[in-house]
């Protein structure tokens, strides 16, 4: 029994220590990564070029965002009403 207690304390200390260590390193790594990205790979301006690698099955550019939004809402509505 005593053994379980001391193992639990050990587990808590090493566990919390490790969790904090890992996430602190992650804070630094993330911050560093963001700086590198912003420096070396600045976000391309929002032109069609930006989305080249993105899979665009068949979508032509002729549908404006408002229509898209309307369809989006309609579909959401449709789906929430469906199969009731």
């Amino acid at each position: 029994m005593d053994n379980v207690m001391s193992m639990a304390i050990d587990l808590m200390l090493s566990g919390m220590g490790f969790v904090f260590a890992f996430l602190i390193i992650l804070v630094f790594a993330t911050t560093f990564m963001s700086k590198v990205v912003v420096r070396f790979a600045p976000e391309e301006p929002a032109t069609p070029a930006k989305t080249t690698p993105r899979a665009r099955p068949t979508g032509p550019a002729s549908v404006d965002p408002d229509t898209t939004e309307a369809i989006k809402q309609a579909i959401a509505k449709y789906r929430s009403n469906h199969k009731k």
């Binding site: 029994m1 808590m12 969790v19 804070v27």
Partner: protein, 440 residues
């Protein structure tokens, strides 16, 4: 007629034990909570239904072929099983409760080879694995279902708010204290003689404090499979109860002024950062904690599919058909562990109590960490977002937002709370990795 007597003696009504009756009520309760109260229905409906199925008398849906053969206790079959399992029994002996018990014990402690042999004997004699047992083997014993769900969760997670304010990762770290406080609590119950938990069991119970379903199921399937049912039920139930558990704690630990702190709007995060983040997490896992690789690896993989923008069809399937399918079978499999003899135990009460303590402790530490950080950072943090560090995505973040709005109707904390909220997912996966490394 003979047939009618076979049907009657094999019916549930003639065989229903008290424990099974209680567990069927528990299953119905879970269904009620899920349907009427909205308690995590995606999991609790399959779990509750699976729990009822697992307790159907004589159906043996949650038992392996060998367990079914032992339960049926035909002398000649038992004799053959006995030689496979090294139980001293021959067909001429009486089948006393002690004999049955010794068979059950022998099967539970048997080596893989003996288990295989016993099941081969059972199948040769016409028994087969129960449906839920098969689901459990494929979905959970193999470890695959929680990992696939974690991949799906990764594909549904937006790390944008976290990337905009990476220091909120520390809130996700602090809230993991709930996990280890619970381990300590379980050990304390053991030490004081109230209950009896091994360190493996204590650790598996602690993970409830991670407030993350698949992580809880994964860890308990590795460390303490016999507690899996109770742990999963506790984890999902308390996650559903986050809006009741957290607000009083948050209000007690903070002043009105702290709760009204307004946080500045988050900066925009570029697509490249979102793509790089799961890779960064993966590389840290590679360097520091290989034992978290299955959980965090699948999580990061799902997130990379989401963010990279070139595999949208894979990402869509991961977030829909795949995660839904796996959720159904995961839930039913968890339900298979709600059989009366495994669930109706003093340990379950302990697990339910400790699970509640775990959520409370995690909330406390998250809020206190936020207050502590305010002494060091220049841009103040509203401590209400600390509670979101327990994870329970996205419920805990919504609770932060709601309590914030009660104190300052102009203060929208939702996006700020999403940072620690998803950090909590990473944090508990790291904690899971540590526990599996040290105990597994």
């Amino acid at each position: 007629m003979e047939n009618f007597s076979v049907l009657w003696t094999g019916s549930g009504l003639a065989n229903l034990s008290g424990g099974q009756f209680v567990m069927i009520l528990v299953g119905l309760l879970l269904l009620f909570l899920a349907i009427r109260k909205g308690f995590e229905p995606l999991l609790l409906i399959p779990i509750g239904f699976g729990g009822i199925l697992a307790n159907i008398p004589e159906a043996g849906l949650a038992l392996s072929a060998a367990e079914n053969a032992i339960h049926m206790a035909k002398p000649e079959v038992l004799a053959a099983m006995g030689s496979a399992l090294e139980v001293p029994y021959n067909a001429a002996m009486d089948i006393t409760p002690e004999v049955m018990q010794s068979f059950k014990e022998a099967y539970k402690n048997a080596s893989v080879e003996m288990v295989t042999a016993a099941n081969a004997v059972a199948v040769d004699n016409g028994y087969s694995d129960g449906m839920l047992y098969s689901f459990y083997s494929v979905a959970i014993a193999s470890g695959v279902a929680p990992l696939v769900i974690f991949m799906g969760v990764g594909a549904m997670t937006d790390f944008g708010p976290l990337l905009a304010n990476p220091k909120t990762l520390l809130l996700g770290a602090a809230a993991q204290f709930g996990i280890f406080a619970t381990v300590l609590g379980a050990a304390l119950l053991s030490w004081t003689g109230v209950m009896d938990f091994t360190i493996l069991e204590a650790a598996a119970i602690g993970i409830i404090g991670g407030a993350d379903g698949p992580t809880s199921i994964y860890v308990s399937s590795v460390l303490a499979p016999h507690l899996l049912g109770a742990i999963a039920v506790a984890a999902y139930s308390y996650m559903a109860m986050v809006p009741m558990i957290q607000p009083p704690i948050m209000n007690a630990l903070t002043s009105k002024k702290e709760r009204a702190i307004k946080m500045s709007q988050l900066r925009a995060v570029t697509r490249q950062e979102k793509i790089a983040f799961p890779v960064v997490v993966l590389l840290l896992v590679v360097l520091f904690l290989p034992d978290a690789a299955p959980l965090l690896g699948m999580f990061c993989f799902g997130n990379l599919m989401r963010e990279c923008g070139v595999v949208e069809r894979l990402s869509d399937t991961t977030q829909n058909a795949l995660i839904n399918t796996v959720t159904i079978f995961l839930g039913l499999s968890v339900g298979s562990k709600l059989s009366a003899d495994k669930f109706l135990d003093l340990q379950t009460l302990g697990i339910l109590g400790l699970g509640l303590a775990a959520f409370a402790a995690g909330t406390v530490c998250g809020v206190l960490m936020a207050k502590a950080m305010n002494r060091f950072v220049k841009e103040p943090i509203n401590p209400l977002i600390g509670s979101a560090g327990v994870s329970a995505v996205p419920m805990a973040a919504r609770v932060s937002n709601k309590v914030g709005l009660e104190n300052n109707p102009q203060n929208f904390l939702l996006m700020h709370a999403m940072g620690p909220n998803v950090a909590g997912v990473i944090g508990s996966a790291v904690a899971a990795g540590v526990m599996i490394k040290l105990l597994g």
